[in-house]
């Protein structure tokens, strides 16, 4: 492989790469900053695609396979774009014993997807969380970054159908 010592050029003129570059500078262009940088990429672009992984890996001199290995090890990172709306169902213990499984069932019935998937029309992504730490509000669901507590399957169904409408 030809080894280039010059700094790789950002994949496009997109301004968001400047934010990514800033993070990489902050971590001293060191391979140790890989996870920090991936956080920034995901925050800026919503997900980590191949272009981004390649750019970050080359910039920080991290082997490609290691970058990919790290990106897929941590469940917080996603390699696919998220849907228009996101619905995070908390599967912490308190939520589990207070009815989170029924919420997962509701999603499966209503949208035909399981946590970790996005509907085909790209409208809704459903995710599960290990624990939101909102155990006092079990079962908890996060609709587009808003935490809702003591959610019933009916409430969830209503929210999902609200998103489903054009």
């Amino acid at each position: 492989m030809p080894v280039s010592l010059s700094k790789p050029v950002a994949p496009s003129a997109d301004k968001r790469w400047k934010i990514v570059d800033a993070t990489m500078r902050r971590v001293g262009q060191h391979s140790r900053g890989l996870i920090e940088t991936l956080h920034t990429v995901q925050e800026a672009f919503g997900y980590l695609d191949e272009t981004a992984l390649r750019y970050v890996a080359l910039s920080l001199r991290v082997p490609l396979s290691r970058a990919y290995g790290v990106a897929t090890f941590y469940h917080f990172f996603t390699l696919k774009p998220a849907g228009e709306h996101t619905c995070v169902i908390c599967l912490g213990t308190a939520c589990y014993i207070k009815g989170a499984p029924q919420l997962v069932d509701t999603v499966r019935r209503e949208l035909g997807i399981t946590p970790g998937e996005t509907t085909e029309d790209g409208k809704v992504s459903v995710l599960s969380a290990r624990c939101l730490g909102s155990c006092g509000l079990a079962p908890a669901v996060v609709y587009d970054n808003e935490v809702a507590g003591k959610v019933s399957p009916l409430q969830l169904k209503e929210q999902l159908s609200k998103w489903g409408r054009p």
Partner: protein, 240 residues
Amino acid sequence: MTASANVKTFQINGRDYSARAEETILEVARQNGIFIPRLCELEGLSTVGACRLCLVEVKGSNRLLASCVTRVEEGMEVTTNSERLERYRRGIVELLFTERNHVCSVCVSNGHCELQFLSQKLDITHIHYPYRFPKAEVDASHGRFVIDHNRCILCNRCVRVCDEIEGAHTWDVMGRGIDARVITDLNQPWGTSDTCTSCGKCVHVCPTGALFEKGRSVAEMEKRRNFLPYLQLMRGDQNG
């Protein structure tokens, strides 16, 4: 520090041995012809303590210790074989057989496979945990080599040899838990890898038939590892 302080005397299976302080239990055992099973460890590569087959009992420790990463200590009393260790080792080998699709009868490494060898050595005649039968890919996109994920046991030897000896770091592991698997570059077909030097070291350190040369049929793939001790020796000379 005096030379004598760097030598440790200890016991393995009730017999006295001595070794340099930086040596591991497994190394000493191997030098003295004591068999300890292992699948992830390979002389010449770094140790990761992942397969858990080389666990041994050490008097005074309530935990079992991986002999590949445990250094010898003065007065240590090591047991490499017991009914309990045997049971655990069988369990671990059996778990590996259930994890992917190890169909020995149609494997290129049949007869030359370390997993198969251990199953016989440990007297395993059947797997009493249920098989998983996952769908796993075979990537034959490389000009000379093939990776068959059905037979991969995630020992990580390919990852280490590629990084530590070849310096290419083409291989790594993606995902985690039961979904983990080895990948080349950005999880792309091996044949499209820019970093692979096609040196074939990964193929030859692979303990099973997961990595093999094209054109080999059932039972034809034998692994050659002479390069590892050689490289280790050369590097040792440089350092020493």
